[in-house]
Symmetry: C2
């Protein structure tokens, strides 16, 4: 006759205490892990991935990106703001047009590593 149905335990722990200790030491702080997930979230959209790939080749203005990706200027601009907030791209203004470019070398490294996993 079961007394409670609290499923929050599996015979104490299957792993040993030393592993739990190692985990608790090596685990980065929650805030760092949150930021890390936020970063990957930026790469988790194919429109943004395409924009970054374009910027691998050359700096570009919003309208060029929109044309190359066959999307509206508004959609691209919104995504560029997202990329800007995450410090993945930077921009410079030249008259009426704004040129965007990669902010960081890490961007390329991260995408290349992901590619290696995908292309298997």
């Amino acid at each position: 006759m079961p007394e409670d149905n609290n499923a929050e335990r599996c015979e104490l722990m299957h792993v040993h205490q030393d592993i739990v200790d190692r985990v608790n030491q090596q685990m980065p702080e929650d805030e760092i892990l949150f930021d890390l997930a936020e970063l990957f979230k930026i790469f988790g959209d194919s429109t943004r991935i395409k924009i970054l790939y374009l910027l691998f080749e050359s700096e570009m203005c919003v309208c060029d990106i929109a044309q190359l990706l066959k999307m509206t200027q508004s959609a691209i601009s919104h995504q560029l703001q997202v990329l800007k907030k995450s410090k993945l791209v930077k921009y410079r203004r030249d008259g009426k047009t704004v040129f965007y470019s990669l902010a960081d070398g890490h961007v390329r490294t991260i995408i290349d590593q992901g590619m290696e996993h995908v292309a298997e």
Copy 2:
């Protein structure tokens, strides 16, 4: 007096034709870029990031992960299925318990690269 308000052009193109050609050549196929975004989407959730970090230390069963992260068994199991489908983790059964572990070395490399960007 404006004749049309079609915003789908910016004086042909600001970039030059050679850049457009380079882009079209170097750009991977849409399907690849989609898969790449899907991969990063997996890393774009702090629960999954935490699970992967735990598995850096040791293989673990579902209940242990749930306890360490103070989350329900169901939530962890759902996320492990996501990680399994993406081939980021593998599992082995030992009696009643199922042990999960990292499937690939790329996982660690990708996360480490992301960390470098975040920890600045």
